[in-house]
């Protein structure tokens, strides 16, 4: 590696008094994962296993006239075929739409939508059976962009869909599912006061989360009516509750065991193949496994929206931002639910601007129903807003970081969407960027440099944790957050810190929906924050009981005892002390074992800011952009396990780089994706990238016992505008379309 004269991964740590927090232990599930022993969804096996495959619509928009499965049912080796008719009836439209996305009923709304499922003795037979299912379609014209969908003569996807405005049904039948708006101050006055105004329109294309492991599920519907599903998911309780709702089962009859999961990034929150596997299992009485192919993963899961974004920002000569306007239309896909609400709340939130208006539109189009992708909505918004800020800086003759610092939001700033910020680290992130050796160094010859900063508010929601003390002084910790990135270890570190024991003495397990209390998804940057907190509380419960037990053993008042660093002692009598291990050995004889538990839904969530500095070079003949140097700075509150925090920052940065330079769904005029393979959907390889340098900033979140802010998502927000700004610096070309692929760069002239 090129030796660097600076530290490539910095931790600007605060509060370093911890024993376990802030260290870098090897993850508890590590050995299984490097030896191939860990069981992911597709690895799961069961006696009598059948294999399922799904027939999918070739048309982007069509009425389904009839489905004839009789020939398929007769094929040797086929055990059952299901269609939407096998679902119990739905009452709500929302439920019907969810079912339709899993097995279409009256309409196919995207190419790739599931029409029927087949279970057979082996996957090849199941595949052959698909070819024997006869479907009659009446093909309709597809709508493929927000512009097409919002036009007055647009083909309508849903006759019952009327535009909603924050809880109010306008009664207008349209492809616009909802309109949200935030107004602060008066932008017409603000723009009047501005000396310089930037106004641009930006467009982004559909991109996929790109997890390497396709969707999978195995379902066994028992004769006793219980349904057991094993699948790779970001939320086993979400799967359980969705299945119970769709299949009209009480939640108590559904058990979901999460297998290890090969990436999610938001895309494995919705369910796709689980209900089909369940219906096939009910019909056959056997366990049925369905694994999506890579092509199905692209065409039939949940990518993130393409979008149309208009930004107008005004500032005074001295750099004070006076007004900001954003108009955003985001593709929801076939059914409503794009993340435009989040985009609208993040777009200008880094800045203290007196006047702003933000309009957001959720628009249905004939593409797969979109799902969350790491800070969903915010990267699209930032691609526009953060380029506009840099353009302003250039027009004002100001350094782009200085312009941002001049207007940066701090504690007490009122956000464009209304609430006032608590303690945040935007300023600290910008200062760390400005002071970093990368920004302080001269650009290499022939390169351009760009900066940006992005925001994500992070979420809380429910988590549960149980801790049981073992005789040897170790503890078993069970929790329900599926582990996509080492979280079971960060969660174990919370418990180890509270109990004062080594993290190797905590045995964490991710368990199923029958074994732990309700736990919300592994996503939204909530896992270390909320499940860590549950572990913290469960450990405090254990600690309290340990003190009480020692008091009983010594026959003293528990109020006179304390437990620090794994030792229980008397505050007044120095003779009375025993280690946690010594206490653990005696538990059975002194009243029984000790276990602690907690169920939390914490408030006090802290948002996270992430900033980038990137140097790029652009080949003038081919338009190819090479990322020469990249630095990610993020405020994480408190890095529990700095290596995994760095990993999140690096991973999100690289997804953002792919989004910026290459990734897009190529749709033909019929609405079919023509590049649904990993060859043509071009994600970054190791050869495309430099090292991703990181700076962990810690502005502690006062709402969490260790100061944690979620880290997973905010880092995907700044890369696309950062790279765009760097390309502009290198070439004079202002890229307003994503991706900024070689052909796109060649087609744009310098300003």
């Amino acid at each position: 590696m090129t030796t660097a004269d600076y530290e490539r991964n910095m931790v600007l740590a605060t509060d370093t008094d911890y024993k376990v927090i802030g260290t870098r232990p090897v993850r508890h599930d590590g050995a299984d994962k490097v030896t191939g022993r860990a069981i992911y969804g597709a690895d799961f096996d069961a006696a009598g296993l059948l294999h399922g495959k799904i027939l999918r619509s070739p048309h982007a928009h069509a009425k389904i006239i009839s489905i004839d499965t009789s020939k398929a049912e007769k094929l040797d080796g086929v055990k059952a075929v299901v269609t939407s008719k096998d679902f119990p009836q739905s009452e709500s439209r929302k439920d019907q739409w969810l079912k339709d996305n899993i097995l279409a009923s009256d309409k196919a709304l995207y190419a790739g939508q599931a029409i029927a499922g087949v279970a057979a003795s082996n996957p090849h037979v199941a595949e052959s059976a698909l070819g024997l299912i006869e479907v009659e379609y009446e093909v309709l014209p597809p709508v493929l962009t927000t512009q097409e969908a919002m036009a007055s003569n647009a083909s309508i996807l849903h006759d019952s869909l009327t535009t909603e405005e924050l809880g109010d049904d306008t009664g207008v039948v349209s492809n616009v599912a909802s309109h949200s708006q935030h107004v602060k101050g008066d932008i017409s006055k603000g723009f009047e006061d501005a000396d310089v105004i930037i106004e641009r329109e930006y467009n982004t294309k559909t991109v996929h989360q790109g997890y390497i492991e396709p969707h999978n599920a195995t379902a066994l519907w028992s004769p006793d009516g219980r349904l057991h599903v094993w699948c790779s998911t970001q939320g086993s309780f979400v799967v359980r509750d969705s299945l119970a709702e769709l299949l009209d089962l009480p939640v108590s009859m559904v058990r979901v065991t999460p297998t290890e999961i090969g990436g999610g990034f938001g895309g494995k929150i919705p369910i796709y193949v689980e209900p089909v596997a369940a219906l096939l299992s009910r019909k056959t009485g056997a366990p049925v496994k369905i694994v999506m192919s890579r092509r199905e993963t692209f065409e039939a899961s949940g990518p993130t929206p393409g979008s149309q974004i208009k930004i107008k920002i005004g500032a005074k000569h001295d750099g004070t931002l006076t007004a900001a306007y954003a108009w955003m239309a985001m593709e929801a896909g076939a059914y409503p639910g794009s993340p435009v609400g989040a985009a609208v709340q993040c777009v200008f939130s880094t800045y203290d601007i007196e006047n702003s208006t933000i309009d957001g539109f959720d628009v249905v189009v004939n593409k797969p129903k979109t799902a969350a992708y790491r800070a969903p909505g915010a990267p699209n918004a930032a691609f526009g807003a953060e380029q506009a800020i840099n353009e302003l800086a250039e027009k004002l003759g100001m350094d782009p970081i200085e312009l941002r610092l001049k207007n940066v939001a701090t504690e007490g700033t009122r956000r464009p969407d209304g609430p006032v910020f608590g303690k945040i680290g935007a300023k600290e992130v910008l200062e760390a960027m400005r002071d970093h050796p990368h920004y302080q160094s001269d650009k290499a010859e022939g390169t351009g440099r760009g900066v940006s900063i992005g925001f994500w508010f992070n979420i809380g929601f429910d988590s549960a944790c149980n801790i049981a003390v073992n005789k040897d002084g170790s503890v078993n910790l069970t929790e329900g957050s599926t582990d996509i990135g080492g979280s079971r270890t960060s969660i174990a570190m919370h418990a180890a810190e509270v109990l004062g024991i080594p993290v190797e003495d905590v045995r964490p397990s991710v368990v199923d929906t029958d074994t732990i209390g309700f736990t919300a998804v592994t996503g939204g940057s909530r896992t270390t924050f909320a499940t860590g907190w549950a572990a913290y509380e469960a450990a405090q419960d254990v600690k309290k009981q340990c003190i009480e037990r020692a008091a009983k053993i010594w026959d003293v008042d528990a109020n006179g005892l304390q437990m620090e660093d794994g030792v229980i002692s008397s505050k007044s009598d120095s003779e009375l002390r025993m280690t946690f291990k010594e206490l653990a050995e005696q538990l059975s004889d002194t009243g029984g074992g000790i276990s602690g538990s907690a169920s939390v839904n914490p408030s006090g969530v802290g948002g996270s800011f992430a900033g980038n500095i990137a140097d790029v070079s652009v080949d003038p003949e081919t338009g190819k952009t090479t990322v020469e140097r990249f630095t990610c700075v993020q405020d994480v509150g408190k890095a529990i396990h700095p290596s995994y925090v760095e990993g999140q920052m690096q991973g999100g940065s690289v997804q953002g780089i792919g989004w910026a330079l290459n990734e897009e769904y190529f749709m033909n005029d019929e609405g079919t994706m023509t590049n649904s393979s990993l060859l043509d959907y071009r994600m970054p390889t190791s050869l495309d990238l430099p090292m991703i340098d990181t700076v962990i900033v810690e502005v502690a979140n006062p709402g969490h016992p260790f100061g944690v802010r979620g880290v997973g998502e905010a880092n995907i927000v700044p890369p696309t505008p950062t790279i765009a700004n760097a390309i502009y610096d290198a070439t004079g070309k202002r890229m307003t379309q994503l991706p900024m692929s070689p052909g796109a760069i060649l087609s744009v002239s310098p300003e």
Binding site: V26, G262, Q650, L678
Partner: protein
């Protein structure tokens, strides 16, 4: 149903025999017929490297190799990398450098990197990135993977 072929091969130093249809890939045979599920499927068309195995000293994407082609071959999969219960320096380096997050690509990366270090015990950063370009990772951004391989190279040279 197509008639099955009897295949005899060596996997991780052990003689293994299995039956497979001509249309089954080596990846499918390893996972579904032999029960070695450490080798993963990410795309089934040779573009992600999650199914990488070592055949007769060459790394290949096993999704593009037919099961019947394994006849007489010497195959190494992730299950054979550790020495009994002793992890290989590469495996230790991946763990200590936090070079995995979800871990689905890790078996492929370890097989690929092992082959690299056997050929080139002291690779440069560029040589590592070039060699590993057919192993896709979506979680890590590759930074810590490159570091892990460099760390493993050092450990192997010191051994």
């Amino acid at each position: 149903m197509p008639a099955k072929t009897y295949v005899q091969t060596t996997i991780n130093g052990e003689h293994v025999d299995f039956l497979c249809e001509p249309r089954q890939s080596l990846l499918e045979c390893l996972r579904d017929e032999i029960g070695l599920t450490g080798t993963k499927e990410g795309c089934n068309d040779g573009n992600c490297g999650a199914c990488t195995v070592n055949i007769d000293g060459r790394i290949v994407t096993s999704c593009l190799v037919l099961g019947v082609e394994a006849e007489g071959a010497d195959i190494e999969t992730i299950e054979g990398v550790a020495d009994g219960s002793n992890l290989h320096p590469l495996q230790l380096a991946f763990l200590e450098n936090a070079a995995l997050q979800c871990g689905i690509c890790t078996p492929g990366f370890i097989i690929s990197s092992k082959a690299l270090l056997e050929q080139n015990p002291n690779p440069s950063e560029h040589e590592i990135r070039f060699w590993l370009a057919n192993n896709l990772c979506r979680c890590t951004g590759y930074d810590k993977i490159v570091r892990a391989v460099q760390d493993a190279a050092k450990r192997l040279q010191e051994a």
